[in-house]
Structures are given as structure tokens and as C-alpha cells.
Amino acid sequence: MIVDCGSQIGKYPCVSMDPLIDGGIIDDNYARGIPTTDSTQVKILTCPVNGPRPIQEFHFGGEVRDMPAPHDASDDQWAEYVFNRHGEPAVRREWWYHTPSGTWLIAERNNCTDEVLRTYLFDAEAEHG
């Protein structure tokens, strides 16, 4: 059930993108390739049907995008839909697939810290209604 999926979506000040310098001091961890943020790594993803499951059971399906009406869309609109993505740091809505149960779901995830804010099933009525 989608209640207010828009509230946390959007730009995120991405800590892990500025890992090197903090007050002019070179971060030793960065030089050694160790993550500098104490972020919540996704190792467990919560499937709305099956509950918390290991990340290895899931397949990433890319960001949720609205398809323009194929017959009405201009070439530019169609190209924009087919090719362009939001690759910048953000909390985004993404498709994920729980392979063992064949469940497609939506996750709101921070693409810098790997933190998942919520997961839920797609609800066509709430999306387009």
C-alpha cells in the first residue's frame, strides 16, 4: 500500500561521495579503500511477501520510471524514457525482484549509503489513480 512514497524521495547529501578530505586531512581509510561511512549496508532486504531475506535472493531491476503513452509520445520523450536515468546521488524508488518467490517489489533506497527506507508491492491504483 502506498501512502506517501514521495516524502523521502529526492536529493541526498551524499557523504560517501566526499570521502577523501574532511578539514584538509586525507582520510586514511579512504587511501586503504575502506568505506568511510558507517552506513547501513544492504545485506538483508525485506520482501513485502516473504519478510527479511538475504540480498543474494534478489535481482535489481533499475529505477521506477513512468512510461509515456507509446502512441502519443514524441521521439524525444520516448528517447528520454528509454535511455536517460537518474544516476546522481539520491533516494530513489527502484524495482527489485525476489527470485525464489517471483515477487516484484519497490524499494526506496539511498544509492550512496545503500540504506533502504521502505519496501512495498506495486499498487497500480495508488500510482496512477
Binding site: 578530505i21 579503500g33 568505506p35 561511512t37 536515468r85 544516476g87 546522481e88 546521488p89 544509492n111 550512496c112
Partner: protein, 414 residues
Amino acid sequence: MPLRLLKFAFSDKYPEQRMFRAPDRLKPEYDVVIIGGGGHGLAAAYYLAKDHGITNVAVLEKGYVGGGGTGRNTAIVRSNYLTPEGARFYQTSIDLFRDLSRELKLNLFYSERGHFTLAHSPASLNTQRWRAEVNQHLGIDSKLVGPEFVKRMVPEIDLTCGGHQPPIHGALYHPPGAIARHDAVAWGYARGADRRGVEIHQRTGVTGIDVRDGAVEGVHTDQGFIKTRRVLSAVAGWTTQVTEMVGLRTPLVIHPLQALVTEPLKPWLNSIVVSASLHLYVSQSSRGELVAGASLDPYELISMRSTLDFAEGMSGHMMDLFPFLGDVKVLRQWAGLCDMTPDFSPIMGTTPVRGFYIDAGWGTWGFKATPVSGLTMAHTVAHDHDHELITAFNLSRFQSFDLVGEKGAASVGH
């Protein structure tokens, strides 16, 4: 011991000139600002100064020179690509690499090892045969070889993969495949650019770009504002953050790619060995470490964290090919950011924003293109017109549905 080393023992100060200066402040205005002090940005600065006489250039680097993709790749150079555009482009890069140590007066340890792409099934062998035929048609030195040849060139390999994986039926062999010392490539270009007047500003992050009436007017940095009409973005895995500053839409998405090195061993592996089925490429560096990389992490993430999953999987697959490595320890592992395009070709050249040039979409194939991307982007910036080698790679192809599907871009995992 060379006598010149004595200088270091007896002098109070470091007796040699530094590779490049560290200017203490930005000038208020530059002819060209290059964002990103990696191999690509520094090479572009070098060729701008050398080939086009444009020396009032600032290279802005948020971290340190060569600390992004340049220092995180597995240092492999090859040109066995499958599109005419790609093959021509990467072959030019190899031609430049071969002469680069002399040109930059710095030993890049450029070492042609021969590059094997193993086939673990008859179907895969057919694919490698097709790749060899296409390569030869495009004038690339590449051929299909049988398992005996692989065994002769890499005697330590277990062609049966210990029974844990399908056995090796043959390989695509690319003799010019090489490795190089990737840091030195960045340093050499940095020194060459610096000597010609280019300023390299490390620890200088870009926070915004001023665009008025569709044209670049200046760059905001954490060290102050710079007036400029030409900006080159050469930041690979950070590109989506720069394009957002000028309001450009791109297809780029960012995935981490992980790699590792083992403890140093005596030289035994002369070739570069790639197995698409095992998601593995491995070579031995001049320091004796085995350098190995994998395919992309399976989902988008703008983070250079590494995972145990990777180290475990990679080690297992290395042992399938080279069982005796069981006792060899992993020395370190790391990740780099890959800005992936849907057709596995780069995004290069002019953009709809006047004075904003892009060198991006370097995904997993950027290091080998360092010299040619610098050369062609310098030309593009100097003439405000795409160099002929990169016209097919313009961002506009994603509007005109004119993609350059490059199936040869990555050795593994597409």
C-alpha cells in the same frame, strides 16, 4: 647503486624537482577548466598545452591525482573491440601507449603480455571465433587458439578447471594486450602538463557550474569562483553529479567494480588471462602481485566499499584456473566507481550546453583509453568540434537512437 641516489642521502631537501607544482590559490580566470585530475583529465590538459598551445588551464581534483578510476583499474590495455568505431579508437590508444614512456620521459612499465579470453564451452568458442574474425576484419591483431597453445603460454593453468568448472576449449588471443603502471600514466601526464604551464589543483572540489543562455560562464569550487567559458568534465564515476550542475540528462548509472591483489610472487604469469564464465581477469604486475578484477557489483551504488562476497568468489575462481594459489594470501581489495552506458561505449565530446564538454561513460573500460581520450578531448575543446575519432560517441546518440553497441567493451559480465 646509481650515483644519483647519493644525492638523496646527503641533501637536506628533496633533491629532485617534484612531479608537478602545488599552486596555493586559483586564478580568477582560466581559458579552460578541467574537472577531474585522473588520467583522462590530465591527458587532456597535456595535449591542450602541447598540441594546441592552450596553457591557461586549471585541472581541479577533489581528492588527489589519480585517486579515482585511474588508480583503481586492473591496468589492462587492449584493442580487441567489435565495432569499427571502438576498434579504431582503442587501437589509436595502443599506438599512443607504445610510445608514451618516451614521450613523457617516465617509465610506465608498459608491458605487452598477450591477452587470453578463455572459452569454457563449444558455444563460447564459437563466440571467440566470431570475435577473432571481426577483429581481423577491423585490422586488430587477434586470433582463435586451441587449448594446447593456452597451456604452452600459461603452463600453470589447469585446463580442466579441477572439474569444478567446464574445461577450457580454447581462447581468443590478442598479442598486443598489455599492462601498464596506471599511477605513472597520471603522473607523467600531470608533469608534462605542469611543465607547459597548466595548473593542477588537488583538494579542490567543484560545487557548481554557472550556465547562462545555454553557455558556461564559470565554475564554483570550495576554493572560490573561477571565470571560464570552457569546462571539460572528466570525472567518470562522479559524472552524474557534474551533469546535474549543468542540467544535462544522461543514461549513466553508477556501479562499483571490485578488484584485489595477492601478496607478491616470483614472476610466473606472463600473460593476461580472462575468463568470462568465471567473471575473472588476472595478470601479474611488475611487483609480482596477481592483480584480479571481476564484473560489476549487481546493483547501482555510488560507494567504493568492498565486500567479502567478492573476495570469496574471486579467490574460488582463481583457484579453479590455478589450483596452487590456494596458499597465497589476498593482500588488499578495493572498489572503483563505474559510470555505465547502455551500449558500453563512452560519452565524449560537445554537449547541448555551449562550452561544456564531456568525457564520461568510462564504465569498466576507461584506463586503456587514457591517451586517446586526452588527445581527442583536447582537440574537441580547442576547436569546439568533436574530433573525428569520437563523433560516434556524442551524447546526442541517445536522442537519435544511434547507439554504438560495443559487445567487446568488457572482458566479463555484460
